[in-house]
């Protein structure tokens, strides 16, 4: 009988603490808003700091910060929206912006912008274009990313090779990468690759290469994929040569070294954005950055941003905008700069010490100067599915299991179908 009693008590305790899940009633006059974003665990602490600052300035608004990893973020976001309980403010990746905006999920921020004249003046103009529609802005950028060339100084020093410089072309990149692909412990296996980059999504490498070769990605009204036209093919041939010449591991085998080979110390060079810097610093890589190399048609790189959007069904849009306003102000942007993950969208902050003198002795100015030849990452409806067609489709080519030009034709056809479906 005793045993049963104990059991019963334990179960009741559990069930009682079940109620602990219930939300406490909000205080009088205090508005609560939910802000969700994807990010690394380190970002949670800094955003909480920004939110704490915001609370001091706005005592009657409470912001709840939720940070998830990338995959979890979209699963949860989609479910919440489908279920009719969207978060108030959430993070949006610029390329995906149109998919959400065109489906009416977002609130038009134009009225707020109009009420604050001069609000947009301090921004880098390239960062704003993605979020502008004929009816006004449906989102605002929170930070931006330019892609630059990273190189591991220790590896270059050890091999006695000169660092990449501002005059480099892609041919120089390939030649140096070959010199930097080494079997450092003589066990017959390559343990240092000259170069590594993600070739699935366009941002890290292939869009920049195509533009530098004089090609285009997509046409102006988003009906035709142009990555197979003219000199774009030469760009692909170059990228393929990186694999074929062995300076870069194939997509399937690279996975066993980690998802970012520069960070795991297996690659001497990479092309990526500022978000990777804290991770590299933490991994103890001694690195610096240079401009993306020049192609036959000039120099090009990709600029992208992560933004804030407000859900259409938000019950407290004023409070939500107040928060966004704060994060985009000098105070908020300064905090973000200190975070080190991205570049502030406010010129005044980006060109100040808050950004330029962050931890990590790399040339932060390179990211800013790259804006001069940066092109915006394309934004269009159906982006994710389109990107899958291309990214997934080309992997067999890079793995050495399919031929480049034939596959490009197939891939482009499939990508065009996605565009047609999304018109």
């Amino acid at each position: 009988m005793n045993k049963h009693l104990v059991f019963f008590v334990v179960v009741s305790l559990f069930l009682a603490s079940c109620g602990g899940g219930a939300k406490p009633a909000a205080q009088e006059g205090v508005v609560e808003i939910n802000f969700t974003m994807w990010g690394a665990p380190e970002e949670l602490a800094v955003w909480q700091a920004i939110v704490d600052d915001f609370h001091k300035a706005n005592p009657n608004i409470r912001v709840k910060v939720n940070v998830s990893d990338w995959d979890s973020y979209w699963t949860k976001l989609n479910t919440l929206i489908a279920g009719g309980t969207p978060p108030d403010v959430f993070a949006m990746d610029a390329p995906l912006f149109l998919d959400w905006q065109s489906r009416g999920a977002l609130l038009n921020l134009q009225p707020y912008i109009d009420a604050n004249p001069g609000f947009l003046d301090g921004f880098y103009p390239q960062t704003l274009t993605a979020y502008k529609t004929p009816n006004g802005y449906y989102g605002l950028p929170r930070d931006f990313q330019t892609i630059v060339l990273f190189y591991n100084k220790d590896m270059f020093d050890a091999a006695g090779v000169n660092y990449p410089n501002a005059d480099w072309t892609y041919e120089d990149l390939l030649a140096t990468a070959k010199k930097m692909t080494l079997d450092t412990d003589n066990d017959g296996k390559i343990d240092q690759y000259g170069f590594w980059s993600d070739t699935w999504d366009m941002e890290l490498l292939w869009s920049s290469v195509i533009w530098a070769y004089g090609g285009e990605i997509i046409n102006a009204d988003h009906t035709k994929t142009l990555i197979g036209e003219g000199s774009a093919r030469d760009a692909w041939a170059f990228i393929d040569s990186l694999y074929k010449q062995g300076v870069m591991p194939t997509p399937t085998t690279s996975g066993e070294f980690g998802l970012d080979l520069f960070q795991s110390g297996m690659a001497a060079m990479t092309t990526i954005g500022h978000w990777a810097v804290p991770g590299y610093v933490q991994s103890g890589i001694n690195f610096d950055v240079a401009f993306m190399p020049k192609g036959p048609a000039g120099r090009a790189t990709s600029v992208n941003s992560a933004g804030f959007v407000i859900a259409k069904g938000c019950k407290h849009p004023d409070a939500a905008f107040a928060f966004i306003n704060f994060a985009l102000s000098e105070a908020g942007q300064k905090r973000l700069a200190e975070l080190g993950f991205a570049i502030p969208v406010l010129k005044s902050v980006a060109e100040s010490d808050a950004y330029l003198k962050q931890p990590g002795n790399l040339n932060q100015q390179v990211f800013l100067d790259s804006l001069a030849f940066a092109r915006m990452k394309p934004v269009f409806k159906g982006y994710e599915e389109w990107a899958s067609m291309v990214g997934d489709g080309l992997i067999p080519v890079f793995d050495g299991e399919a031929e480049l030009n034939a596959t490009l034709d197939e891939v482009i056809a499939a990508a065009d179908e996605v565009l047609a479906k999304n018109k």
Binding site: C18, T79, S264
Partner: protein, 282 residues
């Protein structure tokens, strides 16, 4: 004479096969533990015993976790899993009994319907279920994770039904003649005799609840004090995978399965006894 030689030969063969299989079962775990105690430079080394041996990876894991988050995460996972087990045993056993023993008109139809719910993968039923829970106002609480355990389940009912069907009918007839009611038969005959199956079911339900990522992710707040271990770990794993920090990744993986392993070791004594005892009874 030949019988015992036969037995010895079969014994040796059995051992050989079982040992080989056991090695295969264990090896990934041995490897996981080994890597978790290595220094990053040696994460791909071929030796099983790490040299040098370090616990730094475990500390690295906790460095980014806010205070006590690990304990909240584990407690939440534990609570949800235990309650799920209780709910499932109670409701599935009752339903299984009815499906196995009692004759009534709708039986075949209801059982088929029950099995049909198994056919929809959880990723798909997620959104319709979410909408239903939204109307009930349960989003943000643990209720969507616990309450469904108390209204039966296809797997549990199916499992127990199969087991109940093997219980000899004469026991039931004898009890009937003594005037036992339907519930008596269930409570006094079927339940006690089904300890192995119930033990098996408990393990499965606990494990599924513990390892569930999708449902806590969506129904619980993304707060490291209110969500479960699986969600918390997913959050950290992405960063680690980025940098190929396998040693820390393995430490995290091992910690995530450790509570379950400990529980299993403690509880399996009961389960093994349950299986052995009922064998002897027959």
């Amino acid at each position: 004479m030949s019988k015992s030689i036969n037995k010895i030969v079969l014994d040796i063969l059995s051992y050989a096969v079982l040992l080989f299989g056991a090695l295969t079962m264990l090896f990934p775990f041995v490897w996981m533990i080994s890597v978790s105690f290595r220094v990053p430079a040696q994460q791909f080394s071929r030796n099983i015993i790490p040299n040098p041996f370090t616990v730094q990876n475990y500390f690295d894991l906790f460095r980014d976790l806010p205070d006590n988050a690990f304990f909240y995460l584990t407690f939440n996972s534990f609570k949800i899993s235990i309650l799920s087990v209780i709910g499932q045993i109670l409701t599935c056993a009752m339903a299984a009994f009815v499906f196995a023993v009692v004759k009534f008109k709708a039986r075949e139809f209801l059982f088929a319907l029950l099995l049909a719910t198994l056919m929809i993968p959880p990723q798909v039923s997620l959104i319709p279920n979410f909408i239903i829970f939204k109307y009930l106002g349960w989003i943000g609480t643990q209720l969507p994770l616990i309450v469904p355990a108390f209204w039966g389940g296809a797997f549990g009912t199916f499992l127990l039904r199969q087991y109940f069907l093997t219980i000899p009918r004469d026991l039931v007839d004898a009890a009937r003649m003594d005037g036992a009611s339907l519930f008596d038969i269930f409570w006094r005959i079927y339940l006690p005799l089904s300890k192995p199956a119930i033990a098996a079911l408990s393990i499965f339900v606990f494990k599924d609840a513990w390892n569930d990522l999708l449902h806590p992710l969506v129904y619980l707040p993304t707060d490291l004090q209110k969500t479960t271990l699986t969600v918390g770990l997913a959050f950290f794993q992405q960063q680690l995978q980025m940098g190929g920090k396998f040693t820390v990744l393995m430490a995290g993986a091992f910690l995530s399965i450790l509570p379950l392993l400990i529980l299993f070791f403690i509880a399996q004594k009961q389960f093994i006894e349950g299986i052995a005892l009922s064998g002897m009874k027959r």
